[in-house]
Symmetry: C2
Subunit: 378 residues, 2 copies
């Protein structure tokens, strides 16, 4: 099998899986209980907070554990919106459904919701954002992702952060970093963000766990009420095994896995070269000049359905995706590509290949050979 | 170590831990993706639904996976309350904070919230419930737990269900079965409930995962918005490893682990006998006649602080709890015991011992010998 869908999920690292199993069977205590076994479980949670905080240049008290990015994004949007009686929410046209659907639900509940359009290179229109913020200095929450899940486009987060601080200093700035954190280190102070979301299963950690970084000075009400864990911010017995596995995966990122980003860019360019050799009429979304994370390549074979290509590659043991995994059940062409000006017809032909650290040049060659057979090019 | 805090959490079974690891490293695909690896992950999720549904006499389409009972209870209370513009919520005085705090938050948002008082045997006052329901036939949600986490008292769910169907047939009836499901089979039709919550880590499954059974005819809005997983009812990439581990733990319950309930009652009575031999002045909460789950024994040593006892037992390698783990950070005497008429002084002396399937008679003897040393009785 050649797995080329790392933006959908990753195979858990052996070390992280072992850390998870140990916490489930050895340090299995409930961290809220009052004996040594519980203190050991509490220590696993606390150490994980320190590991993750260090990786972000943040304080451990600013890390909140969640059941994944969807809960994290829901928390940031819904709890963030509760700061105003009539919330004003600004998202981008590139947001993942776990942000977008929250904004739409807030709109149904009476919030004013606006969307920053995308330029043809997939980045947000900063001028449009500036116009909006100048007009709506009472904006409650701005939520823009660091890197897009379908195209890999890296958004100008720092520039947007600066802009928010100028025009709407009381606004909460939330960054969904799910597709970014596995490739690049984040320094929370640089981004001027207030809230950052990540999900462990996107960087070789376990499914069902993620974290939110929340700036110390930001006091949000919880999304989940109950026993008062996480200083009352997120009730529920801590998922100690998941947290242990996630911290282990973060350690692996810090200990070198992120350095692979350089070689992933090489691998990506190698694949792009092979694809253009096979079919010069191929279109990349966005075009070559744009800045994307190294792992995500989105392209259309002219006149060849993306779904058909995915299905035929599957038969050959190669896993790729059409757009985001989450949107698979919807039969519409990608909203994100269309927001970049890609035609519905071309969007229907799009394929997302997302690379991971175990992929090789030989796998790229094999994949393009398979595409040649499928499209009848060779 | 003698672990006697199974109501707080359980050590994950080796088989369940293996199932979890396999799903994390082998069938690791994102169930929403469109290739064979993803279909295998989807199959793990679907099989888990069937396993759990069968154990409840329910349909697999009625099972919803959550990140645990806190999320499950929040979903049932908050999404349930959204059925009415001015919700009327009835809970019992015995509810876990993950129900109680939701009700209190709903009250802050304008809901009318009432509490069914407890009788001295720890059970809800059914007459009071009847009076309330007669007066409030528009009640939106009734939430009463199947068995209490501190005392083990089993509530008259079937009787309450019948009553709700008579007086407030449109009301949603939610049962938090977290402390019940590990001991006894549940048949959802018998209870006349609409929503039932459970948590895997209370029955030797993984932390960070649970399920909600929701009656087919009940259409609730989601708590978490996003990619539309779980038929739109709960977005977020499914925690396939956690779900696989939970299903494995449910299989173990069905394949015999529940039959241990009989021998746990024996073990409980053996412990109670030893305790009364040591100190005839000991008080059990509730008194011996009440119906409790086999694993939970709550008692007070006259004049001996529960916290001190727990700490001294910890030094001897014995894990017990004072009240619920979740409430440990609050220094107040147990609200549940006081609602049963126990004085604050006596509640301060209370200890909860909760037994599991690996406990033995020898461990009971050793525990009581340790208590004898600690209290200076021998």
């Amino acid at each position: 099998m050649i797995y080329l869908d790392h933006a959908a999920t990753t195979q858990m690292s052996e070390r992280a899986a072992e850390a998870m199993k140990e916490a489930a069977t050895v340090t299995f205590g409930n961290p809220s209980a009052g004996y040594e076994l519980a203190a050991k479980a509490r220590a696993v949670v606390n150490r994980a907070k320190i590991t993750i905080a260090c990786s972000l240049g943040a304080k451990d008290t600013e890390i909140l554990f969640t059941s994944g990015a969807t809960e994290g994004n829901n928390f940031c949007l819904f709890s963030g919106a509760r700061r105003a009686e009539h919330p004003v929410i600004l998202i981008s046209a590139a947001e993942h459904p776990s942000v977008r659907e929250c904004a739409l639900e807030l709109k149904r509940r009476g919030a004013y919701v606006a969307e920053i359009p995308l330029l043809t290179d997939g980045r947000i229109d900063l001028d449009a954002a500036e116009r909006f913020l100048k007009e709506h200095r009472d904006t409650t929450v701005v939520s823009v992702m660091a890197a897009n899940n379908e195209t890999g486009v890296i958004q100008p987060i720092k520039e947007l952060g600066d802009m928010i601080r100028i025009y709407a200093p009381d606004c909460l700035f939330h960054v969904d970093a799910v597709q970014y954190y596995g490739y690049f280190p984040i320094n929370v102070r640089e981004w001027k963000a207030d809230l950052i979301t990540a999900s462990a299963h996107k960087f070789y950690g376990p499914k069902g766990v993620g974290f939110v970084w929340h700036r110390e000075s930001v006091n949000l009400p919880p999304l989940l009420y109950g026993g008062g864990q996480e200083e009352g911010l997120r009730s529920g017995t801590e998922n100690v095994p998941g947290i242990a596995g996630m911290a282990c995966a973060v350690e692996e990122l810090e200990q070198g896995a992120r350095k692979d980003s350089g070689s992933l860019y090489e691998l990506r360019d190698y694949l792009k070269g092979l694809l253009l050799e096979l079919e010069p009429g191929i279109t990349f979304h966005p075009g070559a000049s744009s800045l994307t994370v190294p792992g995500i390549i989105n392209f259309s074979f002219p006149g060849f359905s993306g779904t058909l290509m995915r299905n035929r590659l599957d038969v050959e043991g190669i896993c790729v995706s059409t757009g985001s995994a989450c949107a698979n059940r919807k039969r519409e062409p990608s909203r994100v590509l269309m927001a970049m000006g890609v035609s519905p017809e071309e969007a229907e032909c799009s394929i997302r290949v997302s690379l991971g650290r175990e992929n090789t040049k030989e796998q790229m060659e094999e994949t393009v050979r398979a595409m040649a057979r499928i499209t009848g090019k060779r």
